[in-house]
Symmetry: D2
């Protein structure tokens, strides 16, 4: 199957119980929909707008919980790293390491992530052009790792706003690595609520469909059982109760795009 | 049918022969694909980058040719107006008047266009937010015209570049008027070639599919039998020989989106 | 003297009395400060956000009032034109014709303005790069007019915001024509108040000083005796009671910059 | 004296000899011009566009050289930190720690820098609004440090370009901490040369003068004896032979602005 892969989970590991519950529910939905799921959750929100905002359970406890998801639910795991020394430790549990957008040009972090041999998913900085990712790819390849994902999560557009340039997805795909569209961070309004980041979760299904109509290899989406009370990223996370319906829309568009791609190749 | 309407034709009325040929060919394709076609071509390119660039055949000759398209091919006609005095004259031939993006806040032009009673298609200025179009709507409604189309053609994104904010399509649709996506102007690089505007026609099908996956009521696309030698907008016009295939892709996506919309309403 | 020229006046000709009063007061201040003043006011606000917003007294009455300013106060006059047919009429009174930013690529308007033989002040569109003005210059020169001013009034920066790229002033000055900095429109928040344009008049003196420190030939500023009750552009017009103090700051900076320029040339 | 402080030095510590030479020369110039100098150079360029680009001599060797500048030339030292663990070590030598723009929201780095008790100079991220810096201030203050500098180095403006919003300097100054204008990074074209960042060093004096005319407390500028052969940031560093003349211009503008500020306070 060439269906899009789904990278999903709650933004932060808020508790073991909630993490297991969301992972189990996502697994059930994805099995029903025949979607390959990679479970994502963060052990530390390292760049919160405010120092008072909760950051999560920390690396040690977070990795224990992710290991439980991996073992009990048999799901591959991705989580994000923030400083180079974390990579080796995180790689003991995670199948994929994620580089946050603000850190996408930090050479040491990229090299350390690459050297784990795990898949590396790099979010394109909000301050970068699609073609700037070629240098990121080179940093990872020169470190001996070809298992690279390039992730679009929006570009700075004036103050406290992002815009998604859909042509960037086409551009990045031409570099020969799978492209991920991060549908929930793309609707953020950075800093838009004074001491926290706003967002518009109603727009998630629309941008997800648009990206899949352009053609992407994976969708990234943060999902929460109660977004309005989430630790982080509440305004842009999808409610767990809505994710199935949104994925059904996504599959319908993706099926068409993948058929078009096959038919283009056959011509 | 709730399939998207197509507004298409060569950017400029370069000659009677070419205009008739393209109109006939587009009509044939759209009949085959069951798409409602509105023929578009401009009698004057009033805001060329350079004064030396050709501008077209002028209003009198242009309207004669558009009248021939209308009569002989039985196609509805849209063309753009640049100063208020042109509206009444153009409305004798055109079924729809188009307001260019740079002129989308010129009150006299909007009022004169509205007062013809014809449909008015307003291109959102590259300097406007989606919600700024509410004031445009009010200008037209206050002039007694409710036959309004809102057209997205990209927003200024730094110098010599545009970006399409796909969430703007959702926003504008919420105002209760049909929304058009202009797939060929959205790929322009304004002023990007020094004395003319560049563009990237390869991106047209991708943006068209993205907009249709979000949900729009009409697609606008400029089509030319030999874009590299077009009077104007060469870098972004679609080659006439490719339009059928691009429309087939568009229909495939649009069918899904319109089904999703119906199923959402039924829930 | 190489001191900056001041182009100033109330945004709109609201009444004969107010226009004469402001013009007389500005004249008095500029004589005291040894600044060359060109009086500016608009007979029509042709691109208001809302159709309900007042537009001014119209061309006929407006030109009569501007003629009175010219005759009685012996001040040169500039006012803006919106459609080509207005240029010849306006040129009977005005010493300088101004092209609004949204219209800065309308070839017919530029040509008609150029053909009056009057000085033409073109506001750079919010959607244009500084170097895009080279095409505007060519349009005017090819129409036989070398009396050109290039005016910076800010660039689109996300939605409902402008930013001034101060390096654009240097770039435009290199084209050999005087450069104007429009200090009051540069602080606008276009569409930022829903049905009208917002602004931040507190920032005017800062941007004016910045532009003069870079080096410009003229300052454009709208001045009103009661900005909070102005027809138009209230949030960004300067209060008449504050203009003298702001100009004194401007002179202090301009004197230094012009000295630096002289000293650079002597090296 | 309320004259601006100068934070300057070569972008990277390329060698002991070159570092000492530039520091000595800058010290001599600043003594002559009565400018307070803080010497800046980086031991590691941690976010180069390309992994192949040189990064500097590393932390240990770099700090030894900075210590020599401090001891032999009696200059205060600032250098940038990239991961939290570096802060305590760097603070043994540096009088001020600098947070790179891409890292300006990394809570751990800000907290670790604050906890050294040294002055912390935070570069505003290219993806941040001026008011987003209030959260950065809170992170530092909540960590017990009130010795904060806020530094403007440009905002993302489309792809591969930055723009300086001069009104942001006024906004940030209103928060009660000194504001620095980084005149050399503000002229960068990020990623603009494919595998490296471009820039336009000719614009540095203009932006520096503009910022000083608005009013800032310090100027940041990278200076190199041979910018075209610099390890890093060649296109935007100032040639050492030009810095004196540029500073003389800066002083002339700063003197006026500081006089205006004093006269405003007296009113």
């Amino acid at each position: 199957s060439n269906r899009f892969v789904l990278i999903a989970g709650p933004c932060a590991i808020e508790s073991e119980e909630m993490t297991m519950m969301v992972a189990a529910k996502l697994k059930e939905i994805c099995e029903e929909l025949d979607i390959h799921l990679i479970f994502k959750s963060s052990f530390d929100k390292a760049n919160r707008s405010s120092v008072k905002a909760p950051r999560g359970l920390g690396m040690k406890r977070g990795l224990e919980i992710l290991q439980r998801v991996k073992t009990e639910l048999d799901l591959p795991i991705v989580t994000d790293v923030h400083e180079a020394w974390q990579c080796a430790e995180v790689a003991k549990v995670a199948d994929m390491l994620q580089i946050p957008a603000f850190l996408s040009r930090q050479t040491d972090l990229l090299v350390a992530a690459a050297q784990t041999g795990k898949i590396v998913n790099v979010k394109k900085g909000q301050f970068m052009a699609p073609w700037d990712m070629k240098n990121v790819i080179d940093k990872l390849r020169d470190s001996g790792n070809e298992n690279i994902l390039l992730c679009e999560r929006g570009s700075s557009f004036g103050y406290n706003n992002l815009v998604v340039d859909m042509t960037g997805l086409v551009e990045m795909r031409s570099y020969g690595f799978p492209v991920v569209f991060d549908a929930t961070h793309a609707v953020q309004k950075p800093g838009g609520q004074g001491t926290s980041t706003g967002g518009n979760r109603e727009m998630v299904p629309y941008l997800m469909r648009a990206a899949l109509a352009v053609g992407v290899d994976a969708i990234f989406a943060e999902v929460h059982p109660d977004p309005d009370h989430a630790f982080s990223d509440g305004p842009n996370q999808i409610h767990l109760s809505r994710i199935k319906e949104i994925l059904e829309q996504a599959i319908a568009i993706d099926n068409i795009t993948k058929q078009l791609a096959v038919s283009n190749k056959q011509q």
